[in-house]
Symmetry: C2
Subunit: 369 residues, 2 copies
């Protein structure tokens, strides 16, 4: 999913309705009523790594800002800036760290330059799903570690969204076995790209705006993106023959909101609680949105656009998994903090796999269509 922040076209203007607070049976605006008399209005800037209003991710940032405004009765107003509007997407972390913006919205794997350990808080190939990530973050020590990773920069992290399980990507070459990965030119950044490289492929990093053309012209053989909801909007089905699953490289990507520590600590306790809680709402809400919209979009892709949906052959997934384990272990070996995060993540993953093997996994296999 990485680096889609360069994207400047798809989904612009597609501001979603519904979303956070849908179904609450009320329309509440800060202006409507507020029994608390605001002593002052605080204004915050939120810089984001996404194009303004990008479906799911950018609109998730909008929802979060709106919710903070609603809950605070207008006492805390958060203005959202799309990528490049205030700072370039990859400078979001620094902007929050320095206080140029009080708040940032992105994904932790963008900040591996600050700490390799950051990647564990976004997506790990063959790692935990959305539900498992949240269990680790909130009840398995994950949040405390994430705070430790960002602390030297004066930044406080929060989970603020999740894409759910992604798709494997769009391909113009059939993948029938491990040999088909040899020489495969695929736009797949980050850890997934490193894994593909070691499997014999050629990972390519392209700005979002060049992906479609590169795929259509044959400059690349394949690309990963997100899942049906975003991929349909991006029109990738027009440029590729096969749509492979599952998204082994991003099995439940956590989206983050982070705040400048000084700005956050200067807030009164109720506004701190509102900001933290709004992130919790946004985290769960985005997963619900992706789950619902992916399933609708998948029907459209299959029924209206005749997309050829295929599963990666098991030997291919086995190979990618083995390499993924090596790559992730190497990250962990780079420094003490990464090792500490890896240890916590892997221990929790192992146990939750045992639990989900007899719960979610078995159930999904037996429940019928």
């Amino acid at each position: 999913m990485k680096r889609r922040d360069f994207l400047g076209t798809a989904g612009a203007g597609a501001l979603l309705t519904g979303g956070v607070l849908s179904g609450c049976g009320q329309e509440s605006t800060p202006e409507k009523a507020a029994s608390a008399a605001p002593e002052e209005t605080i204004e915050w800037k939120m810089v984001t790594t996404w194009p303004k209003n990008f479906p799911g991710l950018g609109t998730g940032a909008n929802n979060l800002a709106r919710l903070i405004g609603e809950m605070s009765g207008g006492r805390l107003k958060v203005k959202v800036y799309g990528a490049k509007e205030l700072v370039p997407p990859f400078e979001v972390f620094d902007a929050v760290s320095s206080g140029t913006a009080e708040m940032g919205h992105g994904a932790a794997y963008y900040w591996k330059g600050k700490s390799e350990a950051a990647q564990f808080f976004a997506a790990v190939p063959f790692g935990m799903t959305a539900q498992e990530m949240n269990a680790w973050l909130y009840y398995g020590g994950g949040m405390e570690l994430w705070e430790e990773v960002y602390a030297p920069f004066g930044v406080v992290p929060a989970a603020a969204g999740n894409s759910g399980l992604q798709m494997g990507g769009w391909f113009n070459k059939e993948i029938n076995g491990v040999a088909d990965l040899q020489g495969l030119k695929m736009r797949i950044p980050g850890l997934g790209g490193e894994v593909l490289k070691r499997a014999g492929g050629t990972p390519v990093n392209l700005p979002g705006g060049e992906i479609f053309t590169s795929l259509q012209s044959g400059t690349i053989d394949a690309t990963e993106w997100v899942g049906p909801y975003n991929d349909l909007a991006f029109g990738l089905y027009k440029a590729a023959q096969y749509y492979y699953y599952p998204g082994w490289h991003e099995p439940g990507t956590t989206i983050e909101c982070m705040y400048n520590r000084q700005a956050f600590e200067a807030l009164p306790a109720d506004l701190q609680s509102i900001v933290s809680s709004a992130c919790r709402v946004a985290n769960a809400d985005m997963l619900a949105e992706y789950t619902a919209r992916n399933n609708t979009a998948l029907q459209t892709l299959v029924n209206e656009h005749n997309v050829d949906v295929r599963e990666f052959p098991r030997p291919v997934l086995d190979k990618l998994r083995t390499i993924s384990e090596e790559v992730v272990a190497e990250i962990a070996a780079q420094d003490a903090l990464s090792a500490k995060v890896y240890e916590s993540y892997q221990t929790f993953r192992k146990q939750v796999v045992a639990w989900h093997d007899i719960s979610e996994r078995t159930y999904l296999n037996v429940r019928g269509g």
Copy 2:
């Protein structure tokens, strides 16, 4: 999971630490600071169907109340009452409807006496998982239908927790085939009980406090409860030989918070938003808690108590699924509103199964241990 509200012993005093707001890097209490000058303090009562402080469920109600207090800077104080403290557990809905309490905490299947349709908003045998339920509720029209079901009673519903996938239960008889369901005396209330009955079993309804003794003495052959986290605390491993999975009858039970409509509408807009959002936080938080604690408890059950964990044979699950479909369809046939909810639920379920077949399900099957 039903009727555990009669329980008066297990887990009392086990008030959990962590939970909502854990990992937010702050301690905030209403007293600490609040830039908004409270014009008045509103006091609400929350009646619950759970024993006070019951792990996960009762503590989830406590977390929710505390969060409302924090976010409102103490302007809205919610006092939580355990089952029987103010009203009996099965009078919670009526208490909220009449305004005896402004808020209630339970699960919608308790209110099937008000509307059969209510059951779709808690748990449906072979139905949707927690993640799918949230997608349906917030982005698939589910919340609007739930509001419609409760509207005649002046009650507004919110999802405020989820147990995740439950276990099939504790058995002193091996289940090797469909024939073993014949005459099986099992404590399993609600829809699951009706399904068991049609499969030849004898569903028994027992208050929580009698389950352990009944199972130990052989009065019943089996009981369902929740999952490892609650079941370990309840000591059921001491009274049964086999622990079966999966929990086909409750694949992701939604816990509800509901409010008296008049009381809710009398709140200023910011407090309405705070109450609704606190429910959203609690909804996701409880699932994270169960996911994390179930996986820890499962290790304890297996490694320290030598619990014999077994999977229901596939023909048994196939039989139960077929009957479940009949039972659920019969509910839908009882009245127009139930039919409308069933139609929405089933349509969404069918589509999300297709999406999760190529995402969550495939991934859980291939990711390795």
